[in-house]
Symmetry: C2
Subunit: 229 residues, 2 copies
């Protein structure tokens, strides 16, 4: 792998990596089967990463993806990944990114155990800017388990989308489940989104789909279906 | 309200309801504030329904929405709602649908308590056809709590999207949590999606975003960020 340091100013480091021809891609990152394949009767199944979910148009979240998840991730046509852990990205995952032209944004947030919790606000702010930039979409946010660090970043995005705190916490708890942390929720509550207010939220399901599909008020149809009919 | 029976063939009943002028809409369904409003500093917050989530492009899921959720639902620009309970839709919700031109597809599935569980497969099949029809998007699927009936329908959709069962169950359990039912999971496992295989899945995030954004393999950039920099 040829590493060339392109840019370093104490904010980010950009590494240009070698071109990988599709034919040189390892078997683990083979192209996913299409709907026309003969293996559509259950043999070829996609394995989304742990805690995978769609956050909004072009934004996904999950736990750490491994090679079993690569065929599924390819179906998302990702342009970038936000990785929220300090550990180096594994070679297998870097190979997958290279062969699919996916940019990696790594924000090294140390894992925390209560009561010694310190979600770094500045890092979350930088990550949120990357999330909000549609040029990076489709984008996957992940940490290790897709619960705490990912949950906090998504929670801050929801605040910017003007979700009430109850709903922000409801979503956070849906993924964190028994591992939900009061300190994470306090961080989201106190996170001030006012400095992001000027940014366009064109990526949001709220705005895009609304603008594209909203029909004028006219009539309403109701269809009732019953079993056996 | 003027009710006119347009179509009845033992499969569905279509009810054309009166036009409601926007000025006559109740305060509960007022238009949501825009990003330009002066109340953007926390005063005007959206309240998504319980268990709300995005399933895929143009497909959402939730528990039963009440009038507090209407401003949020308006931001989704919904074209239709799939309602999975047998009880009549409340008048307030019907008013909201009318004033926003949203079509209601009601599939009356009785609530079940284990061990007396009987998810009606035929009804789920009909509902799934409605989900797959992009003409109905953006679409919200809901039952009462967004756990069991909604979870089963979404699970069948995931099988059609070729998700492995582990991931289907993982998502189901994320919303059902402590109320997860083995019988629901057995229903999803046994649900045969082969009859839907011929339908195009153009609605899927997999296909749409992938086709729109996927770039050729060329290079990969990695950016590393650290707190304090």
């Amino acid at each position: 792998m040829k590493l060339e340091e392109v840019h370093q100013d104490h904010i980010c480091r950009t590494i240009e990596v070698a071109v990988v021809e599709p034919t040189k891609v390892s078997p683990a990152v083979k192209l996913p089967p299409t709907a026309d394949d003969s293996e559509t009767n259950g043999e070829e199944l996609y394995i989304p990463p742990l805690n995978f979910a769609m956050v909004d148009n072009g934004i996904f979240r999950s736990g750490f993806p491994d090679c079993a998840n690569f065929p599924f991730l390819q179906t998302l046509g990702l342009r970038s990944i936000i990785y929220l852990c300090p550990e180096p990205y594994p070679d297998t995952n870097m190979e997958f990114l290279k062969s699919n032209g996916i940019e990696l944004f790594q924000f090294g947030i140390e894992p925390c155990k209560e009561p010694f919790v310190n979600i770094p606000e500045g890092t979350i702010r930088k990550a949120l800017k990357v999330v909000l930039d549609v040029k990076n979409h489709p984008l996957l946010i992940h940490c290790k388990r897709g619960k705490h660090r990912t949950g906090c970043l998504v929670g801050c995005l929801r605040k910017l989308q003007r979700w009430c705190l109850t709903s922000v916490f409801d979503e956070y708890q849906c993924f964190a489940a028994a591992k939900a942390r009061v300190s994470d929720q306090r961080f989201m509550e106190l996170f001030d989104v006012s400095s992001f207010r000027h940014l366009p939220l064109s990526f949001s399901c709220s705005k895009r789909i609304g603008a594209r599909f909203l029909r004028p008020s006219s009539s309403c149809q109701q269809r009732l279906y019953k079993e056996g009919s």
